[in-house]
Symmetry: C2
Subunit: 396 residues, 2 copies
Amino acid sequence: MVSKSMENLVKNSSTIRQMFEEGNNLIKKYGKENVFDFSIGNPSVNPPKELNSSIKEIVDNTDSKELHGYMSNAGYEDVRINVANYLNNEFNTSFNKQNIIMCCGAAAGLNIILKSILNPDDEVIIFKPYFMEYRNYISNYNGKIVEIEALEDFTPNLEDLKNKINEKTKAIIINNPNNPSGVLYSEDIIKSLSNVLYKAQEKYNHDIFLISDEPYREIVFDGKKAPFIPKYYNNSFIVYSYSKSLSIPGERIGYVIVPDEINDKENIFNAISIANRILGFINAPSLMQKVLSKLLGKTSDLSEYEKNRDLLYNGLTDLGYTCIKPQGTFYLFLKSPVEDEKEFIEKAKKFNILMVPGSSFACPGYVRIAFCVEYEMIKRALPKFKELAKEFNLGV
Amino acid sequence: MVSKSMENLVKNSSTIRQMFEEGNNLIKKYGKENVFDFSIGNPSVNPPKELNSSIKEIVDNTDSKELHGYMSNAGYEDVRINVANYLNNEFNTSFNKQNIIMCCGAAAGLNIILKSILNPDDEVIIFKPYFMEYRNYISNYNGKIVEIEALEDFTPNLEDLKNKINEKTKAIIINNPNNPSGVLYSEDIIKSLSNVLYKAQEKYNHDIFLISDEPYREIVFDGKKAPFIPKYYNNSFIVYSYSKSLSIPGERIGYVIVPDEINDKENIFNAISIANRILGFINAPSLMQKVLSKLLGKTSDLSEYEKNRDLLYNGLTDLGYTCIKPQGTFYLFLKSPVEDEKEFIEKAKKFNILMVPGSSFACPGYVRIAFCVEYEMIKRALPKFKELAKEFNLGV
């Protein structure tokens, strides 16, 4: 009786639950200290202290009916103005409240954009490896998914993009920095990508949207910065979430930037606000809007992730494993020492190491290691990775 | 460039904005005291004091990373258990956590249910007058809307239902008590409705779901109670929101009840949880889940709405206006003294009275008066309604 579009998802959900239970069983059997769960992309550092103090301050000093009440579907005006000003200061832009739509996290942001722009059978391009939920978001609005093959360094394969872009292409989704590869697209890459899109827009004489999903924007390493896409391409949307930067993924709060340079901007802005309403979000949670508005520029202690990256990357490469050095996010995408990464993952389980197969990101032959974990756990895990390496004759 | 499914919505949004601006202009011109805005269904009573104290207590006493972190898409287990226990106590049921899915308010609840059950061209039946957003929710999943004509007393027209129910019928949405009519469907009505549905299920040999949208469940008058649908019909869902009972519409928090009696219950439950994820809600906001879990059974002072109902209903009927006495919600559905209710509404604006046309609820010839306003405003408005009545020769 489940709808056809949901049938397979329901079937697969039992596999995910099984994985989850497997992890729990390992913990029961061997103790938490001896299980190395690198499978979950959940922030491991605490939210900044100012989060809870802001919540209490706002609750104490705001009229309760107003604080928890309805506002415009795009969000509180003062919050949108504060976000716009923060962005202007950070990226030297000139946004105002009509460029900002508060939304229930990045997943919501992507859905309200896609609802607003996709007609049935419009094509949306995504680059392997990618966050698998993009497939569902695109299918929700009867869009067609077009995959671009991965390059060895996991930067966008522009040659394959040129081949696959066509008159049906409505949008491209990128995720910068990237889950699961940890790769940060540089300014040069964004320029080249924009160049391809500008040419395609001209050739096919219609708008092609570049949607940049940026929940990891601040989690970047080695002093690097993520380029700010609207500077390079006209028809771009930024989808931002506070889930990772403030370690509040349960609160569902973020925003969409709709730059003035977007073609038909006013209608697009209105469509996205209305999509917020008709898809059932109505508005981003009201208290949390007010809270993050007080915390602009604040983050959790994200340097923890860089320390973890260093320990894990150095440790694994020393052992003979192969991977691109993550430049951002809290993921490391390791090349499986055998073609079928599921074999590698099964073997790793013998050492109580849990990882996600690359095929869950349309990129078999790799595994994703989420290093949003305690530093000490990585330390304890490395000797296990050493034993695992031996099984595959690495580093000998 | 806006998607075709959104084009008309974007066009119409300017009309709504215009109405809103019209109201603001009246306030600027005549002062807030002299404008009688009955157009907005926004709770007018304060949230209970325990709301803010609970927020602060939870923030102080819960691990911050956990409090604001991810949980299962269906919601925190402890919260779902508390909600189930509350319902069991209230309705003598035997729900457990596998019957409760926390969601981002009723709009979200309806969307995740419809996504989970609708195949393209499945028919969903709604009773006039109805909350217009139901049309969008059904269309989101390519369902077909089937409208049932209204009876004079706005109870469900079961004869028309019998005529229109067919092999394509997948679901019926009811809203009890009803926005905009204020009518409460009695136990007898629910029994008769269930009877029609049971017969149709048998005749067409497939499940027909009864979705009851109940954000106004506690706002009922004269000591009446809304019947608890799952007691009368097997394939029923309850969609509940705390927006009205706790006066927190901005926080987007509610739940879906999936009773054990639902056919294929386990898969349906999983589908709805997954729909929560793939539509981009992910989960109901985490802090608010914990908060409402502490407030079960608490409400704002809803007796204010009954006082408003009495003053408004008695005042208007004394003046010669015609309407059904609201038994719940904070709406009164007034018969327009002229066939075209928009003419009535335009005339009312001359007296600074703002109301919503019945055609916005698929029921022209009526107007909706939202009495979630200050008691004193109703008092001040009645003389204006008297002058308005004279224009239409009422009560003479």
